[in-house]
Symmetry: C2
């Protein structure tokens, strides 16, 4: 478990470098779900996603020597772009290992922010081999996308802001992939108010966190055929135990349910969000028995979408 | 000229029925234009556009007898949807005359809000004939989309809010079609601070306001082949004289310039805006000599876009 104090320190550490993102509401979506929804708009965040929080918190704690030797990461897109943005002002170009099936818009974001892309096959083995190869050959520092307490502390600052912006929340829902955002959210919320329930939402097509929660052990994804390109990572060794002990549940959603929710958000709220965070609304719509009548925070984790390749 | 006091009264009259919309900024777009841009987000407004302001201000001033006899309007989409929304709570279904080439999403909005659609050909003659026919046959009241002081007062409330939200503006840019928004904006801004310059932006493909400003007389559009479905109307008899005497300039933009700006806003700001309001940013990008170094308010007039039919 990460202490609230650490997340509060992370919040102070990074506040100059990130946006304090707004909360949006929608009477149409409140009517549709029978609940009061409060959307934390990390799609408006610098680099287009919440990922800038964790990387900024981490990079600011690296030594000069570590920074001089360079940084490397593995990313499905948003983490890599955020890392590149965070270190660009230090004159550093990070190595970003990306699966070959990453959407072009996310590849472009990494390049535009100054990252150097190293391709791998779209599976965990190739990811790990490519990373180990680089770590052995160079003396770069790995900035892990989620399995690092500094990253988790950074991601937890989004929920900390949400709690300061909206009072009397009953529940919070976040997407879950590697688990950095969900774990940070859990640590923030338990630290502030144990009565607020926290749920994760995950595509059925990459439901390792859901299955791990049932078995009690880290389960693997054999395939990750989901439109949610930000939710294809493997649940982490640091994140999973915290999630297992504290989360109130993880919901799984079909591709169709995710796409319907994404379109609903675009059409009613007039904001651009990724499928990877539309899944939180999909979870609320699908599980009315749990969410009806509640005040619910939903973390809209990112807005980096290929506008030429929409799922409708 | 409409007095500031009337716009302030309109603002009080409608405030319960509309959203107080936020101002968004973008460091990327500031860098791109060399200016400080403040976007007034009427795309987040009830009914998806600023049009709810004018119709609410008008409908609230109709007599019970007028309301009983019904209301009718002509609309390229947003005004009709706003009128339907405004009178729905009174149990009234307005007749909305729409050109046959109106985008489906805007037709759907009118129907969803409870309006009854009456089709006309996509030209001014057919619009007028259809309207006159209904006015003669019924005793409905026309709620004009722009050429009515109550409408103009309502539209002027957006700029009034903008001035309260952002201090020290140098300039404001709005789209211009029939001229309701631009005229309301002019009246608000001149009433508050004559030093702030006000500009209109119009597609070259429907540039009647621009040509009228040059000739001094109301010029007609022969065709309106523009993607800006909200900017195809004819400049009005009430709006034009006020615009002519007060506007600092009207810029015309090509279809390509408009689409590039629309995509820029979607990609960098992560919000959904219509081509019809992206034109304001296009004007700022194109006329750097005028706008560079200035603090500029841009009214993002609406966000009702057919997500299945995007121009890229």
């Amino acid at each position: 478990m990460i202490k609230l104090l650490q997340i509060k320190e992370a919040s102070k550490r990074i506040e100059k470098y990130i946006h304090f993102t707004p909360i949006l509401t929608s009477s149409v979506l409140n009517d549709r779900t029978g609940a009061d929804l409060f959307f934390k708009c990390e799609n408006f965040q610098k680099s287009g996603s919440f990922k800038i929080r964790g990387v900024t918190n981490t990079v600011l704690q690296l030594t000069e020597q570590e920074l001089e030797k360079g940084v490397v990461t593995v990313s499905s897109g948003n983490h890599g772009a955020a890392l590149a943005k965070a270190v660009a002002k230090l004159g550093i170009s990070p190595k970003v290992i990306m699966p070959k099936n990453t959407p072009k818009v996310k590849v472009d974001n990494v390049i535009r922010n100054g990252g150097e892309i190293i391709w791998c096959e779209p599976n965990q083995v190739s990811r790990n081999n490519t990373l180990n190869n680089i770590l052995q050959k160079t003396s770069s520092t790995l900035v892990h996308p989620y399995d690092d307490s500094r990253i988790i502390e950074g991601q937890g600052t989004a929920a900390l802001e949400l709690l300061n912006q909206i009072s009397n929340l009953d529940m919070v829902v976040t997407p879950v992939s590697g688990g950095g955002l969900l774990t940070g959210t859990l640590c923030s919320i338990i630290g502030v108010n144990k009565d607020i329930k926290v749920y994760g939402a995950e595509p059925i097509e990459a439901d390792d966190a859901y299955r791990s929660l049932i078995s009690g052990y880290i389960e693997k994804n054999e395939t990750t055929n989901t439109i949610c390109d930000g939710l294809r990572a493997q649940i982490g060794k640091i994140t999973f135990p915290i999630i297992k002990d504290n989360v109130n549940g993880i919901f799984t959603l079909t591709e169709e349910e995710i796409i319907i929710s994404m379109r609903l958000i675009w059409e009613t709220m007039k904001i651009i969000v990724e499928p990877s965070c539309s899944i939180a609304l999909a979870a609320v719509i699908k599980n009315r028995n749990i969410f009806e009548g509640k005040r619910i925070g939903l973390i809209l984790s990112g807005g980096n979408v290929d506008l030429k390749n929409l799922p409708w």
